[in-house]
């Protein structure tokens, strides 16, 4: 067999050993990626202006004291003062209480609702819209509805009218120190659960039907199927939403602001975020507010770190 050899043809692309100078390569790369950099610039600019700069500025302010337009460095004075505030402990207690209640109610209820919706054969779309509708309502409007119609402490209030109709004792809702937090959690869950329900539904619909069929063949009932199939299959989504929920509820603010006109009855509604607002905007103490903000940042960062570590280990 004759072998044919031929001279190599001139390649249209430069050979590796004759690469263009580095500066030209960089220039070309820059030109090629110009669009990407321009879009990136917008994102970086927005993050820097609205996220990173305020965060760094807040941390700096927490170590400063401003009077008469003159700013001085004061070390940890603002932190010491804020920790000594009689409302400091109450605010953290309230915030943790709200978080735990919201985790029990606001975390479990959407999951149960999603499972129920997933079981329906008819009107699925309508029911989903119905569940999601409160999310479309501006939070302030939703909370004013609760404040003036549902939680009215007189018998004219919606909840009290229902309780009275059922011959049950009525409540002063937001004016009762013991009911303030549960009432805030009920309103918050109603407002926010639509989004969580849709995410759970999406996760539920990704579970292969064969798993349920196999479980049914093995004689598993509804609860058993949920425990052995649904929950393990949606574990990652459940874990992610748990963390997002805790981080969000720890920053509870608009609920006390609107439902309880701020602090509520004897600080029963004061959350850490509201205390920050009170120091910053009512007490002319932006430095103290910044210090409390830093403390909150540290707590949430520590929580997130522990959470990530725990979930990573499980995986």
């Amino acid at each position: 067999m004759a072998t044919m050899t031929s001279a190599p043809e001139a390649s249209p692309t430069p050979r590796a050993d004759v690469r263009p100078p580095a500066r030209t390569r960089r220039g070309r790369k820059l030109r090629d990626n110009l669009t990407g950099y321009a879009f990136l610039l917008g994102a970086i600019f927005c993050f820097a202006l609205f996220q990173w700069f305020p965060m760094i500025r807040g941390i700096v302010m927490s170590f400063q004291h401003t009077r008469r337009g003159v700013t001085t460095w004061v070390g940890f004075d603002n932190f010491v003062r804020i920790v000594r505030d009689p409302s400091f402990g109450t605010a953290w207690k309230n915030t943790f209480y709200f978080t735990v209640l919201a985790l029990i109610l606001g975390y479990a209820v959407p999951f149960v609702v999603a499972i129920l919706l997933n079981e329906f054969r008819h009107f699925k779309g309508y029911l989903r819209i119905l569940v999601y509708l409160p999310v479309m309502l501006p939070p302030a409007s939703a909370l004013f509805l609760f404040k003036y119609y549902a939680y009215d402490p007189s018998d004219a209030g919606l909840f009290n009218a229902v309780l009275k109709f059922l011959h049950l004792p009525t409540s002063e809702w937001m004016q009762s120190p013991t009911m303030t937090m549960p009432a805030m959690v009920i309103a918050s869950t109603w407002m926010n659960m639509g989004a969580a329900v849709l995410i759970y539904l999406a996760a539920l619909q990704n579970i292969p039907g064969e798993l349920y069929e196999a479980a049914e063949l093995d004689g598993a009932g509804l609860l058993r199927r949920i425990w052995n199939v649904t929950i393990p299959q949606t574990r990652l989504i459940l874990a992610l939403l748990a963390m997002l929920q805790i981080v969000a509820t720890m920053q509870v603010f608009i609920e006390p602001l609107i439902l309880a006109n701020g602090a509520g009855t004897q600080d029963s509604a004061t959350s850490v975020a509201y205390l920050i607002y009170q120091h910053g905007f009512f007490q002319n103490d932006l430095n103290g507010a910044a210090a409390l903000g830093v403390i909150m940042l540290l707590v949430l960062a520590a929580f997130s770190a522990v959470y990530v570590r725990l979930t990573t280990r499980q995986d």
């Binding site: 669009t35 879009f39 917008g42 009077r67 007189s154 009762s176 309880a260 009512f282 007490q283 002319n284």
Partner: protein
């Protein structure tokens, strides 16, 4: 154009747009010289009535037009900041962000906060008869409120003192004598009980407990007992005593002893006045201009309301709270802008027959004319005489409605240092006795005292 070219153009447009947005982020209505392209001095002024106050907005706009006609080299740009011109958190946000207008509204209690922000201009050299023709008639005590270290930082535009406002219609329905209103807190309690007995969700007496207004009223009621919020040197709280306890005890007795304060509590400024305008409140403490707000902002009738002096514990009140408002000037204004601002304030707020004193215009609009305040001018001064004459000529509020309040002066005490911060603390004491039947008054006052002392310590 290819897809990649489109993308490139879009990206560059976004980047350029961001740059332009930032450039546009300015609250100033003119360049650094304070002049527009036509060479006119431009000033921005806040507290323009909002769209819900149709008559007041029309009056303001007419006044701006008249002023600009009189001062052809000046342009006023009006800004509305809501019905409550100084909602403390909004005010703080504007001050901190430096987004106040050139001439901005503030309470008498705001001087320290404005100075702390470093945003105020010393207007001492400009505040004269040349810019404000009635300046010599303005009460020196009010000028002093806005003065620090001999420098004037704002022009007073309203001054009030508090008393007991009562609804004559509800008084009559409850069988009470409208000409013999309560004189003591015990009288208030007895009258409140009778008015609340009318039913229909009517509160015999109503009071605030949120949004700083609770602390504001606690202070007024403490003054009526002869108490004071701070020690003489302003270094510590001075309300955790028998007088402070009496204030809270009076409220607790009415709220839970007699159930005469209604079930809805945690009220702020607009909440109480809304209820009052709807005929659901028998009595509350306030300034005469609360009647104006009830009419102008909450659609009530001034004919329903009369005013008595502040009640005392065992006889006449030992004191009442006085306060007010004024306009500050941004520190970066040009001399021309400051002069224009002062001339505008003089026109709108300090000239009998014009602006807030245009009684001939207010009367046909069915706004209350004949209220005994704002007390801006010194008694016997030329401006005061002129204002009183105009008031009398156009009066539509029956003089007997406020006669007793005017005829029975109570010593006026100003608001404490750091007032808004302390009011926020005292809101808790008020909400405690108004929402918790088991509230421990001693504990409430102790907590409020601790917090107030911390505030004062931090302010050094």
């Amino acid at each position: 154009m290819s897809v990649s070219q489109y993308r490139r153009v879009a990206a560059l447009t976004v980047a350029a747009g961001l740059g332009l947005s930032i450039a546009a982020c300015s609250t100033k209505g003119s360049d650094d010289s304070g002049k527009d392209a036509g060479g006119k001095t431009v000033i921005t002024v806040d507290c323009q009535p909002d769209g819900s106050q149709k008559d007041l907005l029309a009056n303001w706009n007419a006044d701006v037009a008249a002023f600009e006609k009189q001062h052809p080299t000046v342009t006023i740009k009006s800004v509305s900041v809501g019905q409550q011109c100084n909602n403390p958190p909004d005010f703080t946000a504007r001050l901190t962000g430096g987004t106040m207008t050139d001439v901005f509204y503030g309470y008498m209690t705001d001087l320290q906060q404005v100075l702390d922000s470093g945003q105020a201009m010393d207007i001492t050299q400009y505040a004269t008869k040349d810019t404000i023709p009635t300046w010599d008639s303005v009460d020196p005590a009010l000028k002093a409120v806005f003065t620090d270290n001999g420098k004037i930082y704002a022009i007073p535009t309203k001054n009030y003192s508090m008393g007991l406002l009562y609804n004559k219609t509800l008084f009559t329905k409850a069988g009470l004598d409208v000409n013999n209103p309560p004189k003591t807190w015990a009288d208030v309690r007895a009258a409140a009980k009778k008015i609340a007995a009318l039913g229909g969700g009517v509160a015999g007496y109503s009071d605030y407990s949120a949004g700083n207004t609770g602390g504001w009223h606690f202070t007024a009621e403490l003054y009526s007992q002869g108490g004071t919020i701070l020690s003489a040197d302003n270094k510590s709280a001075a309300f955790d005593n028998a007088q402070g306890k009496q204030v809270l005890q009076n409220l607790k007795d009415m709220r839970y002893g007699d159930n005469s304060m209604g079930s809805r509590q945690l009220l702020q400024w607009a909440d109480l006045l809304t209820n009052a305008a709807a005929g659901k409140v028998g009595m509350f403490i306030g300034a005469p201009d609360a009647t104006t707000a009830i009419v102008q902002q909450f659609q009530g009738k001034y004919q329903d309301w009369a005013m008595a002096p502040m009640p005392g514990q065992d006889g006449a009140a030992k004191g009442t709270l006085g306060g007010g408002e004024g306009y500050f000037f941004r520190k970066d204004l040009t001399p021309d802008q400051v002069k224009a601002g002062l001339e505008w304030i003089a026109f709108e707020k300090l000239t009998p027959g014009k602006g807030q004193f245009d009684y001939a215009r207010a009367k046909p609009q069915n706004q209350p004319v004949g209220l005994p305040q704002p007390l801006l001018f010194t008694a016997g001064s030329a401006a005061q005489k002129q204002e009183l004459e105009l008031r009398k000529a156009n009066q539509n509020v029956p003089s007997e409605n406020f006669g007793l309040f005017e005829a029975t002066p109570v010593p006026i005490k100003g608001e404490p240092a750091n007032a808004q911060a302390i009011y926020a603390v005292l809101d808790n004491a008020m909400s405690g006795v108004l929402t918790n039947p088991g509230a421990n008054i001693d504990q409430l006052l102790k907590t409020a005292e601790t917090k107030t002392n911390q505030l004062l310590a931090a302010d050094k």
